[in-house]
Structure formats: structure tokens, C-alpha cells
């Protein structure tokens, strides 16, 4: 699907429930878009000559911003590329996506950052923001050229899954990052304590006989990095928080004024380690799915604003790479296309109001990275998503936009769906135009695993 310019650059989104956290706005209004920007929000806007989208019964929200995705370019295009990843993003309501540096070659050089941006401009329906490596080759030893990378377009620095174990290196990375003043994003996990652990260390791991990864491995590293951030004054962003202890450390740090922000994934908010009982390798993620106690703490942290944002950690892997032993399967699951529906569960369960959910999917993550977006204010770029929060559909990754299928929600019924996504006022995804999933549940398929 290509971007289709709207007629005369004018369109009206009519009668939807506008949810704009940047202005604390929640109400039924029309939204006028001209030349890619929002030019008016109000009741009964005149639509003469404009294309009209009827959004009655739908939410009209600013485009979601994903702080954490693996789009696999360059080098692993068999898993995902910027066309497929971008299409998956807009299908899930994400108009901006930050992509991690663990590519091949690693995004540790301005030429790689530039390459990603050049390809994105040609291929991606969503706006792509490369996150550069914090150390060369993700080796945790020599810091990258942050100034040059920032100039080339990097929005943050991260070694992600290759946690910087050397506290001395981490200190220097954080210190130096204040030169460019963008966040250093950490996958906080003590590798020695984790060992070969693949599932949360607890009752489920004990039952399954799979090696456990203790909560303390994350909690210790979050505490270390917060202390270093406090010392250096850097902006630390904690990726995919998964433990109660990490939430507590972040809460105390923020109260003390440390510059720490944090994200949590839809899967850590809605699944427990019990989901691994089938040995389905799509449930193998890093950090692992935790026990109910931790999930509860994450939800509370998210609701209370200790955790700023929801990020997908969209991690595509080829089917053959996942059809192996649980311990051998590469960690990660895809999430761009399911994030909204999965997170709407939090609204139905009273954890977040609709406005607060949108804040954590859009406004807050845009602020974490200092991006434009996350707002439907007059004058803002028209990155807009229409959501039908009640639509029931069956997610079929084989018919989705991502190249990969590793999702624990495969073949499951989900409630809530993106109807249309606009990027800069142009329609990038339209549910009515191309229905790749089953909207109604016609084909009762068995659960793939016993």
C-alpha cells in the first residue's frame, strides 16, 4: 500500500472521540487537516471541498510512538525490513518507530544510521528513528561517536540486549551522552546472575525444569544504572521494565529527581510466566514473562506514571528460528500490530483510562525521545489514528504486515482495532481498504499447542 494524498490536502475527521493527552482533551469533535497539519479541532467544522472521514463511535488519537522495535535493517531483512516493519507499525497505529541498533552491521556508525534513514524515506509508511549503539559492535567496551551519530539522526543510544556489564564503561557512556543530551536506553540485566536462564525464576520455571532468570538480575542492574545516572546527570531510559523491584527503584529515583524514564511492553503487562507452560517458543522473551506479582507491580507503576511509556520490543524472528528447543529459540515476539488491542485490556480492567492509555502509547514516548508528535494540537503534524475500541477480530500473523509470525496472540480473538492511520495527513493504513485479518470469527481454529 502506498501513501495516498488526500484531495486538495484537506480532510475532516468527523464526529470521533478526540483523545489528546497533550491538551487533556477527551470529547467528541471534528478534526480538520490541511496540508499535512491539524488546522482546527471543534464542533461541526465546515467541510466544503474536504474529504470526510466519518469517525462516529471511534477514537481519534495522536499516532503512537514506539520507543523500542527491532526492524532488522540492515542485514536481517529475512526477519523484517523497513517496508514490512513500517506497514506493521501503521497497521498497529504507530506513526513513529525507534529501531534498535543490533543490526548487521551494527548501527554504531553514522553511515549505518544514514542508510537506515535513506531506506526508511523510500520504503517505510511510518517515521523511523534509528537508535544507535552505545558501544562499538555492542561489545560494551569502546563508546560510539555519539556526536556524529546524533547529527546523522540517531535519537538515543543503546546496546539493548547486550547489557554493558562494565560499570566503568557505563559511567563513561552516560557521562558522554550529556554532550548530545539524548537518552541512553538500557536493557538492564546482570548477565552473570541471569546465566542461561530463559524463563522467570519461580514456581513455573521449577515445574517446567527450564533454567530460571531471577528478578534480581534486572533489579540489581536498574539500581546500578540509576545510581550512575544520578551521578552523571545523564538521561537514563530503562527499557522493558519487568520486575517489581525495578519499578520501586525507578519510583524512588524519580522522587529524588534523577533523570530516569522507563517503558514496559504490552506482553509484560498482560501475560505471566504461566504462558510458557505450553513450551511455545513465542513466549520466550527477554526479559522473561514474570509471575503475577510482578505484572501487578508493572500495572501499578504504569498507572501511577512511574513508567512513562508502553513500547512493543517488536522482535521479529523467522519461523524456522523459533521452531526449535525452547532454550535455543532466539528471544522476542512481534508486537506492533497487536499492541493496541492487547493494551485495551488495561482499559477494560480499569488500570488506565482511554486518555491515559493514549498518553503512554503516544504523548509520553514522544517526549522521552524529544520528538514532535503525541499531540493533536492545532499546528501539529497530522499523525492521527482512528481506533474502534470494540471491534473484535482474530489476529493471524500469517496475514499481517510483519514478515515474521512469532506472536503468542496468533489465532486469538482480540478486542479493539486500528481503523485508519494518517501520517502527515496522508492515509498510511486503512482498515476498510485491505482486510488482512478476519474481522469476524468465522474459522474456529484449535489452539496450536497443547
Amino acid at each position: 500500500m502506498t501513501r495516498r494524498p488526500t484531495e486538495g490536502g484537506r480532510l475532516v475527521i468527523r464526529g470521533g472521540r478526540i483523545l489528546d493527552p497533550s491538551q487533556e482533551r477527551d470529547g467528541v469533535f471534528d478534526c480538520l487537516i490541511e496540508n499535512g497539519r491539524i488546522t482546527a479541532i471543534g464542533a461541526k467544522l465546515a467541510a466544503d471541498g474536504a474529504e470526510v472521514f466519518d469517525a462516529a463511535g471511534q477514537w481519534v488519537v495522536p499516532g503512537f510512538v514506539d520507543l523500542h522495535a527491532h526492524l532488522r535493517v540492515p542485514g536481517q531483512e529475512y526477519k523484517e525490513d523497513l517496508a514490512s516493519g513500517g506497514a506493521a507499525a501503521v497497521a498497529g497505529g504507530f506513526t513513529q518507530v525507534a529501531c534498535m541498533a543490533n543490526t548487521d552491521p551494527v548501527n554504531d556508525d553514522p553511515s549505518v544510521t544514514q542508510y537506515i534513514l535513506d531506506r526508511a524515506a523510500k520504503e517505510s509508511l511510518a517515521r523511523i528513528h534509528p537508535i544507535a549503539a552505545a558501544t562499538r559492535g555492542l561489545a560494551g567496551q569502546v563508546m560510539t561517536e555519539m556526536v556524529a551519530l546524533r547529527r546523522a539522526g540517531a535519537v538515543a543510544f543503546s546496546d539493548d540486549g547486550a547489557t554493558i556489564m562494565d560499570a566503568g564503561v557505563m559511567r563513561r557512556v552516560l557521562e558522554y551522552s550529556t554532550l548530545v543530551d539524548v537518552p541512553v536506553i538500557v536493557h538492564a540485566e546482570d548477565c552473570n546472575l541471569r546465566g542461561h536462564g530463559v524463563v522467570h525464576e519461580g514456581a513455573v520455571a521449577t515445574r517446567l525444569g527450564l533454567p530460571g532468570n531471577p528478578a534480581a538480575a534486572e533489579e540489581i542492574m536498574v539500581a546500578r544504572d540509576i545510581r550512575l545516572a544520578e551521578w552523571t546527570g545523564a538521561h537514563l531510559h530503562v527499557a522493558h521494565v519487568s520486575t517489581a523491584g525495578a519499578v520501586e527503584s525507578i519510583r524512588r529515583a524519580r522522587e529524588a529527581g534523577v533523570r530516569v524514564t522507563a517503558e514496559v511492553t504490552p506482553h509484560h503487562l498482560t501475560l505471566t510466566d504461566a504462558a510458557t507452560m505450553t513450551f511455545d517458543t513465542s513466549t520466550r522473551v527477554a526479559p522473561p514473562l514474570r509471575s503475577a506479582r510482578h505484572v501487578e507491580a508493572l500495572r501499578r507503576g504504569l498507572a501511577e506514571g512511574v513508567i512513562d511509556a508502553i513500547a512493543t520490543d517488536h522482535a521479529p524472528h523467522a519461523t524456522y528460528e523459533k521452531e526449535v528447543e525452547f532454550t535455543e529459540a532466539p528471544p522476542g515476539m512481534i508486537g506492533l500490530e497487536t499492541a493496541l488491542a492487547v493494551c485495551l485490556q488495561l482499559v477494560r480492567e480499569g488500570v488506565l483510562s482511554p486518555l491515559e492509555l493514549v498518553r503512554r502509547l503516544s504523548t509520553n514516548p514522544a517526549r522521552v525521545l524529544g520528538l514532535e508528535g503525541g499531540s493533536l494540537a492545532v499546528g501539529a503534524e497530522a499523525d492521527i489514528v482512528l481506533v474502534d475500541p470494540e471491534r473484535i477480530w482474530t489476529y493471524d500473523p500469517g496475514r499481517g504486515h510483519s514478515k515474521s509470525r512469532n506472536s503468542p496472540w496468533a489465532d486469538q480473538r482480540l478486542t479493539g482495532r486500528v481503523v485508519a492511520t494518517f501520517v502527515a495527513g496522508r492515509i498510511a493504513y486503512g482498515f476498510e481498504h485491505k482486510d488482512e485479518h478476519k474481522d469476524e470469527h468465522k474459522d474456529e481454529r484449535g489452539v496450536p499447542n497443547r
Binding site: R207, L208, G209, L210, V324, T327, E328, N449
Partner: protein
Amino acid sequence: MIGRDILGIEDLSRAEIELILETAERMQEIGTREVKKVPTLRGRTLINLFFEPSTRTQTSFEIAGKRLAADVVNFSVSGSSVTKRETLLDTAKTLDAMDPDCVIVRHKVAGVPHRLAAVLGAPVINAGDGAHEHPSQALLDLLTVKEQKGRIEGLTVTIVGDIAHSRVARSNIYGFSKLGAEVRVAGPPTMLPAEIESLGVKSYTNLREAIEGADVVMALRIQMERLEGACFPSVREYAATFGLDRKKLRFAKEDAIVMHPGPVNRGVELSHELADHRPSVILDQVRNGVALRMALLYLVAGRRRKAGGVESRAASATGEE
């Protein structure tokens, strides 16, 4: 019971376990005949699919199959599917195309038999998956205790050693608990997995307290090469603290029996004397293993293939109806 996989004791009901044990008791007699063969599974093909070498378990299943007149084929694979660049599904498809009536799977990673069972047309028997389950071992242990003690209900069973890495421990915890025994586990804290008491056992780090009043003491094999220095400081210290000998056994009931899944590290888990003499029943366990596996094969492989199998499931997975 007939018509399903045997993946773990956790999945079996008490009645199913009792049926297996009663069937095994009838099978024991066949091993005492001069001609140790009955035609029960004639014309059936059993595949021993071993991704991890295990001469004892593989031989026991092979003899069990042959005593029931089945054709037993050993299919050994080494290395993980990643190093072979062959997925588990590829392996399953290959085997399924050979139309086996039962596939017996051993793998060093938990869950592999479950993943194969989900796609294979033939029933799967788990012959040990990682540190998860080893149902035929637990069933033969139950058979042996029942033979020695006349009952399981009301007994106290203490499992000593590396509980964290032991599939034998997990299967026995489920098996003995389901049949009404009290199960205790004991070992150094580094070998007791997180929240082990959630499985319904009491855990001990003091051997004497753990075997106090026990009817059965089961010692587990220690992986000395892998764990020395990591989970216990030295073999010498392990043997002194958690190794069983006659002196320590005095704290158990007077008529307590000693079990071990084999092979024994002599002088480590068990003293030489205990390894060779009563009250250890190690060779009874081995002997009963054949009868027990005959019972499993009879109950599982005597049926027809599951409808479907790999091809139809693969078709539905890709949306082609």
C-alpha cells in the same frame, strides 16, 4: 488412557497411574519366561528418538518393545536443531512420514516431546526432557516401591540431591504425591529450585531431618563434571554432607529402602556398600523398568494413529484448507 501421549506424570490422574502399574505387574511375568516374547504389538513400529544419549533408558524401551514383538528402531540425533539447521518440526515431519505407531523421545531440553507430540500423528512417550519430566522412570519407581512395601499411600519418600536439575525428582514428586505418599526433598540450597514447595513437597537442607522416619530414600545422580564448583564446592564435601551410607540411613525407618535412578557415582550419592546391598533396590528398579515400559507401550502403541498429523496441521497453520 489408550489414545494419548505420555508426556509427564503431572498430566496423569491417579487412576491412570494405577492402571499403568497394574498392567506392568502383569507384564513382569513375561520377563521370567524362557521365551520372553508375546505377539501383542506385532507389526507395530516404535521409534526410539534420542537427541541425548542414554544407553540405559533406550535399551530398556528397546527390550520392552521387542518383548511385545514390535519393530523397534533407534533414531539417534546429536546436537541441537540450531547446530543441525533442522527444526524440530522438520524432524517431526520426517519421522511422521515413516508411519510409526509410537515415538519415544529423549531430549536435553524441557518441552521438546511436547512440541513434537503437538505435530506427530503417532503418540509420544517422553523418555526424559531436560530437567522437566521422566515419566517412565517415576512409574518404575512407583512399581518398585509398591512391590517392596505393598502400598504407596501413607509412605514417606525423601528425594536427596540435585532437585533443581532433575527430571526424575519432578516426575517422582508428582507420582508419589498423587498416590498419597508424603514427599520430601533435600539437598544443598543451591540444588533446590525456586519455590519447590509449590509442588506440594517439604524441602530440607539437613539430610538427617529429611530422612527422619522415611520409608523410601531416593538419591539422585549428581552431574559432577558440570556442577562441581558451581552448585557444591567439591565432590568430597557433597559426599560428606548429602551422600548416603548405613550410618546416616539409621535415621530413616528401620525397614527403609534406598533407591537410585542410576548410574550411581559410587562413594558420592551412595556408599559402595549401599550401592551393592540391601536395603538398596537399584537392580529391582532396572528390572521393573522393562515391565513398566512394556505396559506403557501396550497402552499407548496399541491404538491407531491420531487423525491429522503433521501434514494437515501444517496446512491449517498456513491457512490452506
